[in-house]
Every structure is written in structure tokens, then in C-alpha cells.
């Protein structure tokens, strides 16, 4: 089988001018992850700078409320507030090893942009972040953070002015500047070897979680769960459990206003494969094969595609993919705030919301590990607007 593929998904659907760049990247990456010195450096920064390992927290009150034993993998406690930094540290160390002086990144909500700007500041690299004009408007705080960290935020005004277009623009810029510029992709998407690279640099989530749950429970969990936009926190959360057949893997996509309304971000729900951003995977598209806009209250899940390995895990039956609406996610977000004193990112709240449904089936002896991929500080305005509209607090 072609190593660039996960079943029929993945590949390298990019212009000819990027093919040699991808080959160089693959060679450098494969060499780096076999190099003890590189891995030691990566581990060093994860420990001393990011603050790993992150706790696997037994959420006692939530468990009582939902009806199964729920453990939260606290990626929200990482420096910069989400799992994104794990991958950024890995890719930037690789960029430095390859002699690149500049990094570029795409960002939607701004979390990956902030993480990349942070990594670039740490290693003294020039950083440009591509962000849709619409998202810049919606996520002013993160724009400011990136600028404070010394990054240049490039406003993208094409197509829908959101993440998908920012990604297009980052790819275009990369095609022009690959000689001295490294493209740091934040999700488990893009042309090979990006999906593999992001998985390896996020694998630490499940490596830690597996050891931690064995210590806490003396056995593997029944269910491992994470939210899925492009699929970076989920592929990291699944990685070390994929070869444990007793563990059910559940990915939670955003159903937005409901799958039936067409306003959602669930690439898997309709199961139509396509090519975008260098990969073949499931993709939201209209009747003419144009990419359809995704919708989710969570900017981080607002992506029309999904990582190719997830598409493969779905088709092979190894993982299940479900979806949660905006409303369900916001209810779960508030519930977690009040029961555990943890304000989760709206993205992560999708996984919490599905845990509520799954816990009842599992029963009180069931053990569930959920990736709490990020914290919700960035979302307070969205939450406030939402609560206003819904009158939740009244």
C-alpha cells in the first residue's frame, strides 16, 4: 500500500512546485523522529515550557451527574491554553533543524496562530499567520495576542474569508517561499506527511493518558473520546489506543444547527469524499463539487474537511464518529463550569456533551477518557452572546 495513504484517504494533492518540498519534509521528519537528540529536545520543551505532563483528572461530580467514571485529559492546562502547542513545538524544532528561518501558519479561531506565534518567538523565527478577514473580526483578542508575540497577522479576503481560505492562502504563500519558509499546519490535515507529523507530535496526549488511566484504574478505559474539527487533538488522543481493540474510540464532530439544516461542520456525516488542502478525505461540498461552508458555534471545529486518518478509521470501523449541536455543546460547557469549576473551550465541550449521552449506556462501572483539548477563555464573548440570546442565566 502507498505509505502516503490511509486506505483511500490522504495523498498529496498539491501543485508540482511543492512536491520536492514535501519529499524533503518527509525525509527530514522521518530522520528527526528517529533521532534521540531531537526527541529529547522536544520532550524538554514539552516539560519545561509547555508544562507537561498534563493531569488526567477524575471528574467526580460530573461522573456522578452523567453516570459513568469520567476522566478528563487536561490539555487546557498547556501553555497557550490548548493542545495546539504540542504540535507547534515539534514542527518548529523540525523547521529549525531544516534550516528554515521563517514560519507561516493558518488559523481559524486563532489558537493555532497563537501557538505558532509563541513557538516562533521562543526560537527567534519570523512568523506570519494567515487568518480570514471574518475571523479577524470575530477573534480580536487572539489577533492581539499574536501581534504581541511578534507575529504578523495577514488578513485573507478571498472566498468565505474564513479558515478554509486562510489555509488556501498559506498554501499559496508556501508554494512561493518554501525555500526558506516552513509551513506549520495546525490540524491533522494537509498533504502527506502533515497528517502523520501532526499525529506524532500530538501522540503525547494518549501516551500520557494511557499510563495515567492504568495507574488510576488498573485497566484500559472503555471509551476514549475527543472532538473533531480537522482532527488534531482527537488523533493524538486516539493514537496509543488504536491498537487496543477493547477501547472504543469516539470522535465528536460539530452538528452546528443540526445536520438536517445543512448548517454544520460534520464532514463525516454525509460521507462524501473529495480533495481539498492537499488531501483526499471526507469533505462538505455542494452539488457542483465546490466546497461548502461549514458552520459551528465553535470556530475551531468550523472546517469543511477532516483529517484523512479519521476518514480511514471511520471506514474501517475502528472509530465511531458522532455529532453534537451548538445547543448541546453550550449546555455541556455550562455544566462543566458549574460542576467542576473548569471553563472548557466550546470545541472540547462537544466531547463533554456526547459523554453525557454515552455515559448512561456505559453505566457506573464504565470508564471514559475525554480529551479536554482547550480552555474557554477565548470563548467568553461567544458564550456571553449566546447566553444573551438564549436567556440561559435567567
Amino acid at each position: 500500500m502507498d505509505h502516503r495513504y490511509y486506505g483511500e484517504f490522504g495523498g498529496q494533492y498539491v501543485s508540482e512546485s511543492l512536491m520536492n518540498t514535501l519529499k524533503e519534509l518527509e525525509a527530514a521528519f522521518e530522520e528527526a523522529i528517529r533521532d534521540k537528540a531531537f526527541l529529547e529536545e522536544y520532550d524538554y520543551y514539552l516539560k519545561q515550557y509547555v508544562g507537561r505532563e498534563t493531569p488526567l483528572y477524575y471528574a467526580e461530580r460530573l461522573s456522578r451527574e452523567y453516570g459513568a467514571k469520567i476522566y478528563l485529559k487536561r490539555e487546557d492546562l498547556n501553555h497557550t491554553g490548548a493542545h495546539k502547542i504540542n504540535n507547534v513545538i515539534g514542527q518548529i524544532l523540525l523547521a529549525r533543524r531544516m534550516g528554515k528561518k521563517k514560519v507561516i501558519a493558518e488559523t481559524g479561531a486563532g489558537q493555532h496562530g497563537v501557538a505558532t506565534a509563541t513557538g516562533a518567538a521562543l526560537f527567534g523565527m519570523e512568523c506570519t499567520v494567515y487568518m480570514g478577514a471574518e475571523d479577524i473580526e470575530r477573534q480580536k483578542l487572539n489577533v492581539l495576542r499574536m501581534e504581541m508575540l511578534g507575529a504578523k497577522v495577514e488578513s485573507v479576503k478571498s472566498g468565505s474569508n474564513t479558515l478554509k481560505d486562510a489555509t488556501n492562502e498559506a498554501i499559496r504563500t508556501w508554494a512561493k517561499t518554501a525555500e526558506d519558509t516552513f509551513y506549520v499546519i495546525g490540524s491533522a490535515v494537509g498533504p502527506y506527511p502533515y497528517p502523520k507529523m501532526v499525529k506524532e507530535f500530538q501522540r503525547v496526549i494518549s501516551t500520557e493518558a494511557k499510563r495515567q488511566i492504568l495507574e488510576a484504574e488498573g485497566r484500559l478505559p472503555d471509551v476514549v473520546m475527543a472532538c473533531v474539527g480537522g482532527g488534531s487533538n482527537s488523533i493524538g488522543m486516539f493514537a496509543d489506543f488504536i491498537d487496543e481493540p477493547s477501547v472504543r474510540l469516539i470522535g465528536v464532530e460539530a452538528a452546528g444547527l443540526g445536520i438536517e439544516t445543512g448548517k454544520h461542520a460534520s464532514a463525516m456525516a454525509l460521507g462524501q469524499p473529495g480533495t481539498l488542502h492537499g488531501m483526499r478525505s471526507y469533505l462538505l461540498q455542494d452539488g457542483d463539487g465546490n466546497v461548502q461552508l461549514a458552520h459551528s458555534i465553535s470556530a475551531g471545529l468550523d472546517y469543511p474537511g477532516v483529517g484523512p486518518e479519521h476518514a480511514y478509521l471511520r471506514d474501517s470501523g475502528r472509530a465511531e464518529y458522532v455529532s453534537i449541536t451548538d445547543v448541546e455543546a453550550m449546555d455541556a460547557l455550562m455544566e462543566l463550569c458549574r460542576l467542576e469549576g473548569i471553563i472548557p473551550a466550546i470545541e472540547s465541550a462537544h466531547a463533554i456533551a456526547y459523554a453525557k449521552k454515552e455515559a448512561k449506556k456505559l453505566g457506573t462501572d464504565g470508564v471514559m477518557v475525554i480529551c479536554l483539548s482547550g480552555r474557554g477563555d477565548k470563548d467568553v464573548h461567544t458564550v456571553a452572546d449566546y447566553l444573551d440570546g438564549k436567556g440561559y442565566l435567567n
Partner: protein, 266 residues
Amino acid sequence: MPNRIEARMQELAQKKEKAFITYMTAGLPDMEGCKALIRAQEEAGVDVLELGIPFSDPVADGPVIQAASYKSIQLGTNLRKVFALMRETRAEGVEIPIIFMMYYNTILHHGIGEFVRECAASGVDGLIVPDLPMEEQGSLRDALGKEEGAPLLIQLVSPVSADRVPAILNGARGFVYCVSGMGVTGQSGNFHREIMTYLSSVKAVSKIPVMMGFGIQTAADVAPMKDIIDGAIVGSHFIRLLEENGYSTEAAAEYCRTFKREMNAL
């Protein structure tokens, strides 16, 4: 029937002339206007015409073609309508070689087999798929190989293709499209710093004509490489010219005649 692109290339080789190739986005200013522009270019002596099938995420294109593509989608242009335009145009006796320049998702979504059949039936002579490097061409090539009168899959090379060039050219037909710089369409005056060496190296191993595209505006732009290349492709500049002149067929024809005359006088 021989492929129209190959027939035209042979004709030009005999006359010792260079090929002039244009690109325009299908469906602009509207379907009828688009047909009129195709006819006008045939009359003006354009050798091959690239028709861009608009796609929502044209990642190999710069701002000019992106905007044109977006506008055309808003007007309702889709592959089905462009096939209809092709059938009508051919039925009206237009014989200019036509290439579809499009992104792979549009083909996948239509279904590869059905797409190839419709291309053959409607008189499409070639395909340029910028997000389909040779490693990913298998399925499309298989389908093209099975269909009588199927279009040629035009191969692209870039200044950094280097050791990939022989493999890319293996079995390539029509012409080879040499991208003049790094990045996307429409960056004028920005040819790669090693453009001459690069073009010469492709020319040295290519059995088919070598065309240069990306960032070309006038025949003078290709004067330095006139002894290497067999023709030039103009896209973004041509689209801008069409827009500035309200899609006038006369302005389009005048530009094409001038470019072709000047290029062959170099």
C-alpha cells in the same frame, strides 16, 4: 480524428511558429459572451485556449483568477453548463483546441469515468489539473486511456521539479507546461531566477513542445527565452484585460493578434 492540440502543434512546427495560448475563466461575462470570446480568439489566431472551470478553492491561482472564478460561480457556472457550452461551440464549427483547466475535486465529484466520457463527447482536447501531481494521476490516466477521443492530460513542471522532469515527461503528450516561477498564477515580472537554465533543461529532454506560462503579459516578456520555448501562455493578464474592456471581443482579438505577431517576430 487526431487530437486538436497535437495537430496544431505539428502545424506550428512545420511553419516554425510559436504557439500562443490563452486562459480565460468559463462563464464570464456570461455563457453567450464566453462563446463569443472563444470564436473571436479562434479568428484572431490563438492556437490553444484554456477554459478555467471555476472552483471554490483555486489554490494554484493568484488574486485575478481567484476573483474571476468566484464571480463565475456566483453567476451559476458549473461543469455541466460548460460541457453544454462546449457541445454548442463545437456544433457551430469552432475547431480551436480547448483545454479545461480545473481542480481535481470538480472531476472527482462529477465521477471520473463520466467526466472523461463527456469530455470526449463534447470536444475537450486537453486537461490541466494543477493539484494533481504525477503521483496522484493514476485513476484519471486509467479512465483517459479507456476512452476513444479522450483529452490529453497536460503535464506541468516547475523550476524546482529537477530530477522529477523525466518521469513527468514520460508518456506526456500535447505540450509540457513550464511554470515560470514559484507559487501561483499572475505574478508578473517575477520569473524564477534560474529560469533560463530551467527551461533549457526541460527543452533538452522533452520530445513535445515546451510552453511557458505564469506572469506573462506581452511578447517582450518571453524575448529572452525565445530560442528555448515553443510558445507562451497568458492567463491572469488576459483576464484583467477582458475585465477592463468589458469583455469586448475586439479588444481580446486585438491583444491576441498583437501578441502572436510580436512573438513570432522576436
